[in-house]
Symmetry: C2
Subunit: 215 residues, 2 copies
Amino acid sequence: MSYDPQLLDSASHRLIAALRGKAIFHQGDPASALYRVEHGCVRLQIGDAAGSRQVIAFVFAGQTFCAGMETHWASAHAITDTVLSRFPHVALWDLVARDSRAALNLLLSADELLTDLAHHLGRMSHSDAYERITWFVDWVAKQTKAPPGGTLDIPMSRHDIADFLGIAPETVSRLFRRMESTGRLRRVAPRRFSYHPSAAACIAVQTEVGDQAAA
Amino acid sequence: MSYDPQLLDSASHRLIAALRGKAIFHQGDPASALYRVEHGCVRLQIGDAAGSRQVIAFVFAGQTFCAGMETHWASAHAITDTVLSRFPHVALWDLVARDSRAALNLLLSADELLTDLAHHLGRMSHSDAYERITWFVDWVAKQTKAPPGGTLDIPMSRHDIADFLGIAPETVSRLFRRMESTGRLRRVAPRRFSYHPSAAACIAVQTEVGDQAAA
DNA sequence: CGGCGATTTGAATTACATCAATCTAGGTGG
DNA sequence: CCACCTAGATTGATGTAATTCAAATCGCCG
């Protein structure tokens, strides 16, 4: 028994588009719907009074998201040009009344986000910056179904990645460079790489030897 | 419209006791109930393969908790001798069928934990260790309704606090010492303090002057 | 009283942030 | 179509908060 996004299709909804960088909803605004990403990528974030920003999650095609039942506890922004399905709350209650599986489905999807967040919290504490970046790249590859050896698009800015992983943008930049030197990534365009997950360990050793020779 | 823990009382449940240090459930075990802390304090945590531990939340009297609908994504342990109400899932579904408010109540409580976790994530990234500790102490004071100027019990170990805030136990110890030097806390027994939240800023300045004189 | 885990303290190290200066790509207007 | 322009990205140098390792101390419980 697991989460089934297709179940939502029988609820009333409409497609909406959001251009790159545009807000889908703002932290503090009243919440009235649940969303599913059909195409593109969305960023969920909270901001505090001091102006600092925490990116809570990136949502790729196929995933649903919301942030609060009554008031949005986070903002949502389109990272790329994005197409969304919007399911108003009333349509969801209607669906739940017609199909009891839907209620369980909603609870399971909420639980899924909770689990993700809990594990992300653990990663923030117990992993160093390089481990976080490598995890992040592998995670994006999985979300976008990028094949090993193929092309990997990482559509968000270095700043977004930094605010997600809790490190400085400069450090993100440096660690991407490090991943390239291990052969795990090769840059083919800005925010686009070729992805070689297996190349990590062995080439790292070669590079160390090379570094010593250079020094 | 907000969360109402009392609504649960009309669901079938029984009281259970957990001695200090005992597990209430384990990460990975099948989940079959929701719990409410009647007396004492509970720790929710996840552990990874490497043996490192992330404390997700501390739950005080009056709060409900669970970790997953089907499988527990975290373990729960009693920090002090604890009394719990256990609400089996079947009793909850029964309640939901009788009282439609209950379903919304469950969703709201899940959302509350999600919000807490999101803000905790932000704190871990954007606050330094001392800010985290002061926040934590103030938070425990609020949870346990400790009055300013009165006694504050902080029942969890330094290690638990460290794994919650993502810092080393030694650092926790040093920062508690720092809070004592500002007058915000005075130690009256192990894990028991007298609590002076307003004393923070002004006495901190006095201490700096004193430090300079001593140096 | 003795033992053992929890806590505290100290000294040395380091990973990361910060500050500041380029560099690059993509969009815009002439 | 090209030159500019600006936000994002990169790179280097420097500082520091917090970890780590190690040792002493405390407090609880048998």
